[in-house]
Symmetry: C2
Subunit: 259 residues, 2 copies
């Protein structure tokens, strides 16, 4: 057994020293992606610290997103994630007329195997935020499509679309399959010309529920994306709210230099 010593003169705490050592091994490639780290007991032994301290060192790396743990099996260097690019041309009308919904277009352009799981289709009372954007009274009934999208067999996004009831009446937006081009195409067929989008992104750590639903590893943040879809006269025809796995997305925007 190789022995290494904690340096008590080092201003870094023992756990931090161990974490730094392991991090170096990982970033240098000495511990390759998928590679297994020493067990808690091995590490505690090697540095002559308690197992608790060894565990705290490795929890640090987990919180940085460098390693994953599998109970009963070990801790492993995380493999770099496949990223889904979320680009600013995803709302292009030509994509819609080609029969693609925004995210579908994105995924297929990147050659990513993709599917959508519809979690809920229902009339629900509007919460504060939904009510404000859809210009209805809080508590008024609105239509919600809740779904989870998957890419390459992994969940990537929890996406909820809200609509005023009169807007989606008699459209396939109330059904599982909205048909080619997605909800936006149906809205345009009904006469709502879509002219503008506004979106906001915030970032934060996930709740426990979100962690489970998105199969997030420890230390992976999420992006909260809000989108408001405007029709003529600034009518809001859709309010979209989604939670996206932070390690599986990159947001990409392109602008002309505006005058």
């Amino acid at each position: 057994m190789r022995r290494v010593s904690i340096n008590p003169a080092d201003p870094r705490s023992p756990a931090e020293q161990i974490a730094d050592d392991l991090r170096t091994e990982i970033t240098s490639g000495e511990l390759p992606p998928g590679g297994r780290l020493p067990s808690e007991r091995q590490l505690a032994d090697r540095y002559r610290v308690s197992t608790t301290t060894a565990v705290r060192a490795m929890e640090r790396l987990r919180d940085e997103g460098l390693i994953d743990s599998k109970a009963g099996a070990g801790r492993f260097v995380r493999r770099p994630r496949q990223l889904v690019r979320v680009g600013s041309d995803r709302y292009a009308r030509w994509r819609r007329s080609a029969g693609k919904a925004p995210f579908q277009a994105e995924m297929e352009a990147a050659g990513v195997e993709w599917r959508q799981e519809v979690l809920e289709l229902a009339e629900v009372p509007a919460d504060e935020e939904v009510a404000r954007w859809l210009a209805v009274e809080p508590g008024a009934l609105v239509w919600v499509r809740r779904r989870r999208t998957w890419a390459e067999g992994e969940p990537t996004q929890l996406a909820d679309s809200y609509y005023r009831l009169d807007v989606v009446a008699d459209t396939t937006i109330m059904q599982e399959d909205t048909g080619p081009g997605g909800g936006h195409a149906r809205l345009e067929e009904k006469g709502y010309r879509i002219i503008r989008f506004r979106e906001e992104i915030r970032i934060r750590m996930p709740s426990n529920q979100e962690s489970r639903d998105l199969h997030l590893a420890g230390g992976v943040p999420v992006a909260e994306l809000y989108r408001v879809t405007y029709s003529t006269n600034d009518t809001v025809v859709e309010f979209f709210r989604s939670v996206m796995a932070g390690d599986r997305h990159v947001f990409s925007y392109e602008f002309e230099a505006p005058e």
Copy 2:
């Protein structure tokens, strides 16, 4: 001393039960922002668990961004953060001609007290990424402006701008103060008409160094923003790389529906 019991039949672990109780007190407002949580010993006493378990419960809340700790003083409910809006019109030419750099314009529009701290102005060898974007050989010397921006007395962003040496020669981009309109205005004066921007956002947890530099509390993610500034003929005149505090920013974009 109020006593509460852990329920051993509950599938949640003791630490999780305690965290859930405290979370309820916080979100219900019973424990208001700025309010102080029970100390480790008090909490351990109240639930009849070891201090370690009480600490783990509160670490959970810290990692969710709900509480802050101050050694020697206590743990406190975090106050909601002031957000800096990062909007898609920040690169507008009219702002530049009004003498505003992109982020400066953003801050001032929101009435936020703002300043920039220049950390480094130097010739440095280009790393892989910088070289690729600026179309130079890796290792070739490029100009870097490293700075930290502050809003309302708090650091918000670590921002590095990279330029080819010939592009910035004889401009104030090599000095502390770039003058009105910022670096982009100087580039245009030198004849580089700025026509397009491309930016990418990724989200992740901060490194230790970034945590310190941005005064991040536990459990606060960061956004990594890359920006490439194009001049005519798709010449790249600037590569910008920044790390932004996740709890202090909201990204906002507006698009017309492209054809």
